[in-house]
Assembly symmetry: C2
Homo-oligomer: 246 residues x 2
DNA sequence: GGGGAGAGATGCCGC
DNA sequence: GCGGCATTTCTCCCC
């Protein structure tokens, strides 16, 4: 395909059809950072919302990209096709210099579906609210997403001894960051209420050794809790996979 | 294209060529979480390293995906083409049920280039190491990436009054997390060295109000520092963009 | 729009 | 492999 035809095709499709190209190109980016990618073969996608994605033939992340509502200027001569992309909102500029267009295709795609997802940290906190015994027999939950100046508490409550309880949940591994987060909330609650009997609990399936050490240094507790999806997996181990489908 | 031909094309290209499809499909995923995506038009990509990407016609993130080294099983009948993807390492499964294959293309792409990038947090810390006056006239840097049990310190040093200095850098906005991080390091240094005269400095272009409050609560300092790329931008404001293109 | 935090985060580096 | 952490993070929610 010659450069002039490619230019026309892209301009006609922009904002109406999703465009996919295989092309040999180099890429310049300037915005939140600055980057340069030397010549190589890539997949270039311009979506219907004017999102730009440039993918190398390996790895899952795009090597360069621009967000939705980007403006495009296409220029061409005998040797090159240049796609200049500018996003005013994010103050970003990107230029693709295409040295060889192997292939270009565009099509209007219709898709208004949203992903339905289960097994998130939110589900985990909800599970604890609904079944506080997962933390302990004494735990009484009060609220979810309690707002403090120093952030939001996942689950907030008290126990039979009159202690306030701050719970931070993690769906996978509790790490140093999670302990820091918990500490911030516990101290904020102590300061805000002017009391000292506030306990911190980190609820997650696993914890790193350093995080556990730090947790104990500050007098907090680790409570092993599995996210809801694992429980479901337990229940249907004998059943076949994907049975959750709707 | 009939399902049987598509199946053969995909099987032939797998691991050798990058495959791009426009297809009407639904998607099931089970692994770290579980998800379902009802029928719609999407771009499906299988890269040469067996990475799978499914993109809707809007937004920059893939709606579903599988990592490199995924194994594929393609099955078909008159009505559907099913792509079953399994990743043993990450214990993830995904299934794409294609109801309409609009288009399929594959090609071997050659690309061994790596992105050259400037203006990262690492560059910012390096800049402070090389030009400590950006922090203050008294600051003397000692090391980058100093390791402690509670994490790595971006820039570590001392001042003319004999205080140790811990600097945490952020390339954009300093937030509560950044202050927590700084605090962790300062306390760790105090504990490890058994001393009290350790100062914490958060070096970044901007800081959130709550973070600034927390910073002052703990006796730390905010030092406004711009990442190197902004400085370069200043220098070449009159020049045309993309001149950095090395 | 800013602030705060999760994400099927991913990717990088170090041990 | 795990740990710790930045990311052109992105996305969502709430004020």
């Amino acid at each position: 395909m010659d450069n002039e035809s490619a230019k026309v095709k892209i301009e006609d499709a922009l904002g109406k059809e999703t465009i996919v190209m295989f092309a040999r190109c180099e890429v310049y980016y300037s915005g939140r950072a600055e980057s340069f990618l030397a010549e190589g073969d890539r997949i270039i996608i311009i979506k219907q919302d004017r999102t730009l994605l440039i993918h190398q033939p390996k790895n899952s992340m795009p090597i360069n990209y621009m967000k939705e509502e980007t403006e495009y200027t296409i220029t061409t001569d005998n040797k090159e096709l240049r796609i200049k992309a500018r996003n005013k909102k994010y103050k970003e500029d990107l230029e693709v210099i295409i040295r060889k267009m192997y292939f270009l295709k565009s099509k209007n795609l219709e898709d208004n579906q949203r992903l339905i997802i289960k097994g998130t940290e939110r589900d985990m906190a909800d599970m604890i609210m609904n079944n506080p015994k997962l933390i302990s027999k004494e735990f009484k939950p009060l609220s979810r997403e309690e707002h403090t100046k120093y952030g939001f508490i996942d689950v907030f409550g008290y126990d039979s001894k009159g202690n306030l309880i701050v719970i931070e949940t993690k769906r996978y591994v509790g790490d140093l960051k999670a302990v820091s987060q918990l500490r911030r909330y516990v101290e904020r609650i102590k300061a805000a209420k002017g009391i000292k009997n506030v306990k911190g609990i980190l609820a997650c399936p696993r914890i790193t050794p350093n995080a556990e050490k730090m947790l104990h240094d500050f007098g907090f507790e680790y409570k092993r809790v599995l996210p809801p999806k694992y429980l479901e997996n337990e229940r249907r181990k004998q059943k076949k996979i994907f049975e959750f489908k709707k």
